[in-house]
């Protein structure tokens, strides 16, 4: 009953909030920032904390500063359930007013990628999407800061090798991944690295229907005896894999996940038994930061957050990553406002802003977000920023950093980005290219 009452109150808050922030109320004095969210379906466990973080940061800016540069942000969610078809529908539904699209799935990103060239809306896909989007000359409208999947793959290998990539020679590395465009994304880089450094790369796909019963995959791991397992999981697949790893007694300290496989909630099922599991991450929680204090003051204490248990949930990795994602978008909007001298910027102007992000240490300090994300900078030729990332480790109750900032081997990534971006443009010819960019 308490829960029902609470949900009813939240629904009322949402309804009032929606009415207050409706386009009619804002007219031209608002900036419409839709989010193709997934709070429902098999991947909801990953989506909910991320969306909550994104939403709360925007709500905080609206409450504390009256928005950005004096203009309110009209944050809106369109539910996709992580379905590519629904994601495309949401894109079409929101594109007329949107200054950005946040597709939230590599599958949706790949579908809307060609459309954004025509509709002239920037895609913001922080830490996900198609890795060659880093090439801003070819993918003018797509951004995946602060780090891409190939950065992650490179940094994980760097960590496993202890800084000496030659030491990987002769080793066997299993790659447990969701059988989905997202899960397959880093395979080209892993294959190139395996060839270069002489290790065996063993891809192990997990189907959508097998996410919660991965016994076959873990039997294969038991038979193959890999030196390490790298996981590219999403949603329920993460908890399923970690449970099976515990069951088959696979050493947790040899098991590393991508940043989307590092959610506190995924570890709850195994708790202490998951101790030692690691996840590469371009964000880390800073519960004592000024940004968090402001969110608590202006959103949570005001009863405007959708977070169920603020004392616990707001300290988790994914919630705080959601905050960083909205922060990146807002900094892009700010940069556009300053450059063009316009308050209610449009999509093309926001594209410029995202292309000229400078999230340096001073900026992060001014935002009250020091340590939440590594400093990075984008440009017309570099839409990712390649910030680097930290290795986080599950200590039985929470994720804690266990490495300094790691950096990807750009000499291995850049030629692959260039090659794959070129192949994509040729396969989708005529593809518009930014010839003005001389980087």
């Amino acid at each position: 009953m308490i829960k029902l009452t609470r949900m009813a109150a939240m629904a009322t808050v949402l309804a009032v909030g929606t009415a207050m922030y409706s386009p009619a109320a804002f007219a031209q004095d608002s900036i419409y920032v839709p989010n193709l969210s997934y709070r429902t379906g098999p991947f909801a466990a990953t989506g909910i904390p991320l969306m909550n973080g994104q939403r709360d940061y925007v709500m905080m800016l609206n409450a504390r500063d009256g928005g950005v540069g004096g203009v309110k942000l009209d944050y809106d969610e369109c539910e996709t359930g992580y379905s590519t078809e629904k994601g495309v529908e949401c894109y079409e539904k929101t594109k007329d007013k949107a200054v950005v699209t946040q597709p939230w799935s590599t599958g949706i990103t790949l579908q809307v990628l060609p459309k954004t060239n025509v509709d002239k809306i920037p895609i913001l896909a922080p830490g996900y999407g198609f890795s060659p989007m880093a090439d801003g000359k070819i993918f003018q409208w797509a951004f995946n800061p602060p780090a891409g999947y190939w950065d992650a793959a490179s940094m994980i290998l760097e960590y496993l090798s202890g800084g000496d990539m030659a030491s990987l020679k002769g080793k066997k590395i299993a790659f447990l991944h969701l059988d989905h465009p997202y899960g397959k994304e880093p395979i080209p880089l892993f294959e190139a690295m395996a060839k270069k450094y002489g290790f065996t790369f063993l891809p192990i796909p997990v189907g959508l229907k097998e996410m919660q019963n991965q016994s076959a995959q873990w039997l294969q791991i038991r038979r193959e005896r890999p030196d390490n397992v790298i996981m590219w999981g999403w949603g329920a697949m993460n908890a399923g894999a970690i449970t099976e790893a515990v069951k088959t007694k696979y050493p947790m300290d040899k098991f590393i996940g991508i940043w989307w496989s590092g959610s506190d909630d995924d570890m709850l099922t195994v708790g202490e038994a998951g101790k030692g599991y690691k996840s590469i991450s371009w964000s880390q929680p800073q519960p004592d930061s000024q940004a968090m204090a402001d969110i608590k003051k202006y959103v949570i204490d005001a009863g405007n957050s959708l977070v169920e248990n603020p004392d616990v949930d707001t300290k988790k990795v994914f919630y705080q990553r959601g905050i960083v994602i909205s922060m990146i978008l807002v900094e892009g909007i700010k940069a556009a406002q300053e450059h063009f001298g316009v308050k209610a910027v449009n999509a093309e102007q926001v594209r410029w802003g995202l292309e000229n992000l400078d999230m340096n240490a001073e900026t992060l300090a001014a935002l009250g977000a020091t340590g939440m994300v590594p400093p990075f900078k984008t440009s017309c030729g570099n839409h990712t920023g390649h910030s680097g990332a930290w290795m986080l480790e599950w200590d039985g109750a929470k994720f804690v950093p266990v490495s300094d900032l790691l950096q990807a081997d750009q000499s291995a990534i850049e030629p692959l980005i260039e090659q794959k971006a070129k192949e994509y443009a040729e396969a989708n010819a005529p593809w518009p290219v930014n010839n003005d960019c001389k980087e």
């Binding site: 098999p42 192990i204 996410m211 919660q212 038979r223 069951k247 909630d265 099922t269």
Partner: protein, 317 residues
Amino acid sequence: MLNQIFVKPFVDMVSAPDFLLQVVWEGLVSGVLYALIALGFVLIYKSSRIFNFAQGIMVVFAALTLVGLHENGVPALLALPLTLVVMYLLAMAIERVVLRPLVNQPDIILFMATIGITLFLVGFGELIFGGENKVMITEQLGIPTGSYTFEPWGGLLILEQKDITAVIGAIVLVLALLLFLNRSKMGRAIRALGDDHQAALSVGISLSTIWVLVWFIAGIIALATGIVWGARAGVSFALEVIAYKALPVLMLGGLESVSGAIIGGLMIGILEKLFEIYWGQPLMGGNTETWFAFVLALFVLLFRPQGLFGERIIERV
């Protein structure tokens, strides 16, 4: 290639018998769970000719209710019967609000109605419980969580205690169900309705009572399935996806056959695991479990369109 298909897999099985045992055990556990889900479909189809699309979401709803009650301070052993009460109320509501007004409508209408029930339960469940991953209250329910380790032929065999409990629990549930269907008055009424609706109604069997009963039994099965699957990887709306694993079981075993659901489930569970490990992974890069069961069912349907244990329908014109 012929060696890879016809010789190597069997050599591997013989050379590592402990691993083969582990594969068969994992397949058996999966098979028992598939059979449980399929049973929910079969019971409802048998008594009402409705293909219950909502069975998957009922698994989620039952598991979330159990965990949700416990999160709100209800002791686990009290939360269990209370969840059963909720499933009974759900069965009553479905009969009263959805099925009763649709009596005598074509099968497809009733099928569409179960899709409606699915969508309602998804929304209602998310409103009440949220979409976050939750931990099944395994230990609180007294389900052991450790494992037994054996070393047959100098190898390794790991049997999870919760898997053993799941298999024993499923066997007890199925036996109880078979006893109920074959020995009790209500069970015979369900079978009579399955055989001939009009004849059953003419001898005074109440359609609405039977429908509430079968939907309640499907709810009990959903709860058992939810506890077992939830204990493996948490309770979330992703559990709904596992219902799709029951479809090839139904195609193989037949939609009306309780024994077909059980044998079909076990067959698919064990065969798909053996195929994946000894042929799928070495030859096709793995993940054959997504399609193997359907291909197997399709193959059976070529020769027995009613499934292995389904009733042969002869329509005279």
